[in-house]
Amino acid sequence: MNDFSPADWRAASDTVTGNRALDLEEPLIFELGDVGRSGVDFDGDATEMLETLPRRTAPVDLPGLSEPECVRHYTRLSRQNYAIDLGLFPLGSCTMKHNPRLNEKVARMPGFAAVHPLQPQSTVTGALTVIADLADWLVRLTGMSAVAMSPKAGAHGELCGLMAIHAALDARGEAATRRVILVPESAHGTNPATAAFAGFDVAAIPAGADGRVDLPALLARLGPDVAGVMITNPNTCGLFERDMKAIADAVHAAGGYVYCDGANFNAIVGRVRPGDLGVDAMHINLHKTFSTPHGGGGPGAGPVVLSAALAPFAPLPHVVRDGGGCVGLVEHAVDRPEAFGRMCAFHGQMGMFTRALAFILTHGADGLARVAEDAVLNANYLLARLRDVLDAPFAHTGPCMHEALFSDAGFAEGFSTIDLAKGLIDEGFHPMTVYFPLVVHGAMLVEPTETEGKAALDQFVDAMRDLAQRAKAGDPALRSAPHHAPRRRVDETLAARKPRLVFEAPVQ
């Protein structure tokens, strides 16, 4: 069998089913089930029906599966996913850290999971206490005055913060004249999108050569038309904005407000209070800093901490504590006329609040500081061990925070960041964040988080060093990576030119 070629191997591994041992292909539910099959049985009979009810003529065309078929379908699909439970997931700015399972258990406790948002308040004091306790932690950890708990994700929190700024300007009679929000070029795309959605005009501020906001350019742009700035700190290059306090002072002196994108709060939690830096509003992505699970893309939660200047305008509802420590809900404009409105139905992402509070209580004030320290330590370790083989555009300016930024400078002609990223897949890692931030060509943003120990980091470094050499040498196999994943590179052009967004049964 010594002359057995790779092509023979492929032919030999072709199977009747298309499966290869644990590598299982799975059809769509529309190819498996039918409208008459069900995995649920119900108690009792339905005999009563209103004559006045306008009834549909046929059931919705939805395929059903039996319970064993259903469990198998989703279990098989799950095995085609990479996940933090499987290995290092160095997705910069996204913060993929371990999700402690205590948090899952807590979120399912009936006093939080099996209560209705509009039950009498007297029947949900435990749930309200969770919200009030978490709010208290967030306010103290950030050194701010208040927190709006209802925003449903980071971008929703950004919107909340900018609306509070708008409402504060309105109260000052300056909403019509202060129309501009300054946003650094390195900002996440949500920042300009949010400012535009909140009715502001966006003006871009360039980045300086040190990867931070160009302070003179920002100061030069301040004026009576500026409502405020949106700054990410630590920023999207993984660097702390050293001039944050100076920026905040200047913006305040010019009559504006400071919004801080708190996406990277996990780098400084417990060590730095944004309130001490002059921030007026900041959202906190609970999934990033306090490890609520990403769930394959949400749900998130984006509470917004507010300075004393903006606190009165926080949207409804508010969870409040009276002098005796009793918790309650303020839900209506009649009780809080300054509130700028409501951002969503009900009281926010309760299921995320319980998980985040459990994370906070297990870590405590001491453990949360360690979270930030270990995240920063790990990122700097990766930076130190990779900067001789990968271009690190800002490494000369000093240590990074929780993530290390590299570029594709020095790769062979025709090779880019995407090739190294796809090569990482074959090595059993999830790729880092690629082509973001936009201010660095071929950016690779690597965030190990506090989850990883030194052994895992060293294995990752070994893989990265090898891939960097291959990209510089122009190894053609890298151009077609991944080779070992459930799928090869997919045709995104085809998907976008002829969008097929729902299943359509083939014509017989």
Binding site: E492, T493, A496, R497
Partner: protein, 123 residues
């Protein structure tokens, strides 16, 4: 027929009082595979330098600006099914829209073929 170019990589070809507009070969090469072209409705009033159309590739959506002011008279309907025409024939079959010329003097600010070639060579 005279053809002019903009610094934003549009071309405009003049035919009497009307003109045809598209993006240059350089622009399509920069964008990569075009997946969708959003065109202005006929009758839309365009101002010089204003956003008139959006060309989507997989990873980018780029505005196409009106080289001159005028009114849209026709659009290239074949792009709806075949946006890749902008890749394969950007300066002929992959044209975007026809328009009237509000003020022929606006053409004076545009580049001729030689000047545009020089611009692209410098990029």
């Amino acid at each position: 027929m005279p053809r002019y170019f903009t610094r934003d990589h549009e071309w405009i070809e003049i035919d009497g009082s009307t003109a045809r507009v598209g993006i240059t070969d350089f622009a399509q090469a920069q964008l990569g595979d075009i997946t969708f072209v959003e065109l202005p409705a006929p009758g839309t009033l365009l101002t010089r330098g204003g956003s008139a159309s959006v060309v989507d590739s997989v990873k980018a959506a780029s505005d196409v600006y009106a080289p001159v002011g005028g009114t849209v008279t026709a659009i290239n309907a074949s792009l709806e099914d075949a946006p890749d025409l902008v890749n394969s024939a950007p300066e002929s079959d992959g044209w975007l829209w026809d328009m009237t010329l509000a003020d022929p003097a606006e053409l004076d600010g545009l580049l001729d073929h030689a000047a545009y070639a020089e611009l692209v060579a410098g990029l």
